[in-house]
């Protein structure tokens, strides 16, 4: 009889949708690990990966909307997802608090993504069994 140990994972995505395969590889992996009975602690978007959190992503109707696909998965599995605030602000991804703080005309972060600092990533390195990085070249 094979006994498997349940592990907890944090996925770090640093490649943008539509310019890299990182978000779709990460989503396939996330679905597989949950299906296998492991726990997905959180998803952390870093660098160009924060573009995944833009609710303004509008691909052609015959292409998958990766932001929407990720949002649905995160809500179904109740997984926290964080966009690094420094990476996000630099690339024009804002929540309503940052919109107000920087007096910008709009916010555009998709639900259920939230913004937080690298401290969340550091905490993940201490608490998750595994950290996997999905890079622009993946």
């Amino acid at each position: 009889m094979t006994q498997t140990t349940s592990l907890s994972y944090t996925l770090v995505i640093s490649g943008a949708p539509y310019t890299s395969q990182a978000p779709q590889s990460a989503l396939a992996f996330a679905r597989a690990l949950v299906a296998a009975g492991h726990k997905l602690d959180r998803v952390f978007l870093y660098g160009d990966g924060v573009y995944l959190a833009s609710c303004l992503t509008t691909p052609p109707s015959d292409e998958l909307n990766w932001t929407q696909a990720w949002s649905e998965f995160l809500m179904e599995t109740r997984t926290p997802a964080v966009a690094c605030i420094a990476s996000a602000l630099r690339r024009g991804i804002l929540d309503s608090a940052e919109q107000t703080r920087y007096e910008q005309p709009a916010s555009n972060i998709a639900e259920p993504f939230e913004m937080a600092g690298l401290g969340d990533w550091v905490e993940a390195t201490m608490s998750s069994s595994r950290i996997l990085y999905f890079l622009p070249t993946d």
């Binding site: 420094a86 990476s87 600092g117 401290g119 550091v122 390195t125 201490m126 890079l135």
Partner: protein, 115 residues
């Protein structure tokens, strides 16, 4: 957990290196052991006399000089890349040292992050 953060891209071509450096500083801020490795074109981060203002960017030299203040005690440069980019070891910042990148080098670390 002892983490190696790798910078392997030119200092002003994209933001990957700066964002890797932010990761190193964040680990150090939480008292996590962290080492910075400069390899491939990334060794140019260590080149003195950069004129970043001509590119309207902040100098990475200044960022790196803060590394020890933030608690990143070890900066390591790939010896082969230093030769390739003609960067003599006596021109490296005081906190930097050079090494050969062998499997044994990487095996010292629990985690290696290369954006």
């Amino acid at each position: 957990m002892n983490t190696l953060i790798v910078i392997d891209s030119l200092p002003y071509g994209d933001w990957r290196g700066r964002e890797a450096l932010d990761m190193a500083f964040s680990l150090a801020a939480f008292d996590r052991p962290v080492t910075l490795l400069f390899r491939s074109a990334g060794v140019n981060w260590l080149r003195p006399g950069q004129a970043a203002d001509q590119l309207h960017q902040k100098s990475v030299e200044r960022n790196l000089s803060a590394a020890t203040v933030f608690g990143v005690s070890t900066l390591i440069a790939d010896k082969a890349a230093l030769r390739q980019y003609r960067l003599p070891s006596d021109q490296l910042p005081e906190a930097a040292c050079e090494t050969d990148l062998t499997p044994a080098f990487y095996q010292q670390f629990d985690s290696v992050v290369a954006l």
